[in-house]
């Protein structure tokens, strides 16, 4: 019964990945043949160029920051939904998921309408006389942050919700019974028990943000280029497929390392976090 699945994965996941791997070691590719020619490590060596290294580091920082803000915003929301009466939870979750189902591009443009110089926020602020000049809300790193958090938040909320929903309410009662106030109860019981959900949610946001192309492309300035944009740039503008492939694999490598770290911490076992 698994054969179709395996075939599907081989053809559409493994094969392109192998092709990318081959490209990343290719000395050159010719327009007449799909097969890479020659063998070299120069593309990987080029990754160490400070120009590209900076893009990687900036991407990691941006993704890390987006993960942090998502957690800050998403945790209370996931907690609130998980502690709502059962009949309300479905509706609340739907509210989280609906934007997720909306076309990504449309959502990003909608956000730009809010933030741009003649956008909704600036118009209101100007009209009320709070500011005289429109604020620069778009085309900078802060705008990219807003875009990343806005689009990726559900990725954190959903796994965290499913974890918090399973949290035994009696453990909360037990902590209170033993003299723990609301904060102590959260810090000593709720938080440690929700760590697997936190880890998985953060991993989802981090990996997605790290490879994000559309948000920095549309909302970022010239300086806020991220790894995703670099890859796009190499494949489509510079036409340097081998280097693009090397960047893409490096990106996949970082994602893999993050996933492995999360798994090591127990986040993907579905069980509790090991100490």
């Amino acid at each position: 019964m698994l054969a179709p699945t395996i075939l599907w994965l081989l053809a559409l996941v493994a094969a392109p990945l192998v092709l990318m791997l081959l490209y990343s070691f290719a000395a050159r590719i010719s327009p007449d043949s799909p097969w890479p020619q020659g063998l070299t490590l120069e593309h990987y060596a080029r990754l160490a160029d400070p120009l590209y290294l900076r893009i990687f580091i900036r991407s990691i920082l941006q993704a890390g920051l987006a993960t942090f803000f998502s957690l800050l915003l998403g945790y209370p929301l996931a907690y609130y939904i998980a502690r709502s009466p059962l009949h309300k939870r479905g509706r609340l979750l739907l509210l989280v998921v609906i934007p997720f189902w909306t076309n990504f591009l449309v959502r990003t443009y909608a956000l730009m309408v809010l933030l741009r110089a003649q956008g909704v926020i600036n118009s209101i602020l100007t009209a009320t006389g709070l500011i005289s000049e429109p604020l620069n809300l778009l085309y900078n790193e802060a705008a990219v942050q807003v875009g990343l958090v806005y689009t990726l938040l559900p990725l954190l909320i959903l796994p965290l919700y499913s974890n918090l929903e399973k949290l035994d309410a009696r453990l909360i009662s037990a902590a209170q019974d033993l003299g723990a106030g609301p904060f102590a109860t959260f810090w000593n019981v709720t938080w440690p028990l929700s760590l697997p959900g936190v880890l998985v949610g953060c991993m989802m946001v981090f990996i997605s943000a790290f490879g994000m192309y559309l948000v920095p492309d549309l909302m970022g300035g010239a300086k806020s280029i991220m790894v995703g944009n670099l890859i796009q740039n190499q494949f489509l503008q510079a036409r340097n497929w081998p280097f693009g492939a090397a960047v893409a694999l490096a990106l996949a490598g970082v994602a893999l390392v993050v996933a492995l770290l999360v798994q090591r911490a127990g986040g993907l076992d579905g069980g509790e976090v090991r100490r």
Partner: protein
């Protein structure tokens, strides 16, 4: 130690507790006994601080506790399914409350070790709760609550998840522990045997009200209501009329009961084990002023400690418990003898 003064609790529109008045004495093992939904757990949760009463007052050690959140009340709970923290060791579970009180680490170590010793888990401190058996987890929950030296220890069906043998052993252990510590225990159960075996006093509850409070002997031997008579063990309920003689007119019989009756409908409870059965050839004696009924054996059931008979007397059925040994057969004519003092008049 604890006083419930006219306490009521309503959830949405359902009444969970209705005008409860109950005193718990210091050092007492008091059991709230009743079927599910009778308000016993609500009573416990009100005292623990997980719920607030809709009306009435709760006093603990001379002070009203309404409005005080659970974490500020000097009571601790042993939860039904233990509610041990799965991410902490046994030691950390037991130490949790003391750490919340900012007790010095050396003192915590001493008291936690003592508590674990008390429940005979001295060497399991480093384990996780999941690695322990149900009985051991139960003891951890007990140690975690006892280490706090609560004014009252609240136990919410703590033995409900254990198998019968272990439950019996834990009943004895809990009771011994309570006596040794001189602690006040408020115990909730729906298991009447457990309540009878362990308690100093039992409060039998039904539908949010207390039906009767008394020692196990009192509630068993002198049930105040029909419900108490039937919930604790088995009881024959004889419904009849008070006769001019002060006896109970029950069918064609006039039965002597535990008091002089007034005219009107009256119900009397009679335990099957208080009924002696005479059959042709048996050597069972008859007391001087005993009630004697005649009937036919309709059912017999061997129950180990004896034989349970159902005897049809003038179209009504009465249960009687026969000690182990010889007995009548199905369809035999028998005589049922019982004294007036065992016919307890009960409220409807």
């Amino acid at each position: 130690m604890v006083e419930f003064r006219g306490v009521s609790k309503t959830f949405d529109s359902t009444e969970a507790l209705n005008d409860l008045t109950l005193n718990i004495r210091p050092g007492e093992f008091l059991t709230l006994l009743g079927p599910s939904g009778c308000g016993k757990t609500t009573t416990l949760r009100l005292l623990a601080g997980f719920e607030e009463p809709t009306a009435g007052e709760i006093w603990l050690a001379g002070r009203p506790v309404q409005g005080l959140p659970a974490y500020k009340r000097p009571v601790n709970t042993v939860f039904q399914h233990y509610a041990l923290f799965p991410h902490m060791t046994v030691f950390d579970n037991v130490a949790f409350g003391l750490r919340m009180q900012k007790v010095a680490p050396a003192e915590i170590r001493r008291r936690v070790d003592a508590a674990l010793e008390l429940v005979r888990l001295g060497d399991l401190g480093k384990r996780r709760p999941q690695e322990l058996s149900g009985g051991q987890q139960q003891r951890v929950a007990l140690a975690r609550a006892l280490v706090m030296e609560p004014k009252v220890l609240l136990l919410d069906e703590p033995l409900g998840a254990l198998d019968l043998q272990l439950r019996r052993a834990m009943q004895v252990e809990l009771r011994q522990l309570q006596r040794r510590l001189g602690a006040t225990f408020l115990y909730v159960t729906h298991d009447q045997e457990e309540a009878l075996a362990m308690s100093d006093r039992i409060a039998v509850m039904r539908g949010g009200r207390v039906e009767q409070v008394g020692t196990p002997e009192e509630v068993y031997l002198r049930p105040a209501t029909k419900f108490v008579a039937q919930f604790l063990g088995e009881a024959n309920l004889l419904e009849g009329e008070g006769a001019a003689t002060g006896r109970l007119r029950w069918g064609d019989y006039h039965l002597a009961v535990d008091r002089h009756l007034q005219p009107g409908r009256t119900t009397v409870a009679l335990r099957p084990e208080q009924v002696r059965v005479r059959w042709p050839g048996s050597a069972v004696p008859v007391g001087p002023a005993e009630n004697r009924l005649h009937g036919i054996v309709a059912e017999r059931l061997f129950v180990g400690t004896g034989t349970r008979l159902v005897v049809e007397v003038a179209g009504r059925r009465l249960a009687a418990l026969l000690p182990a040994g010889p007995g009548p057969d199905l369809g035999d004519q028998v005589e049922l003898c019982f004294s007036a003092e065992h016919c307890v008049v009960v409220a409807p």
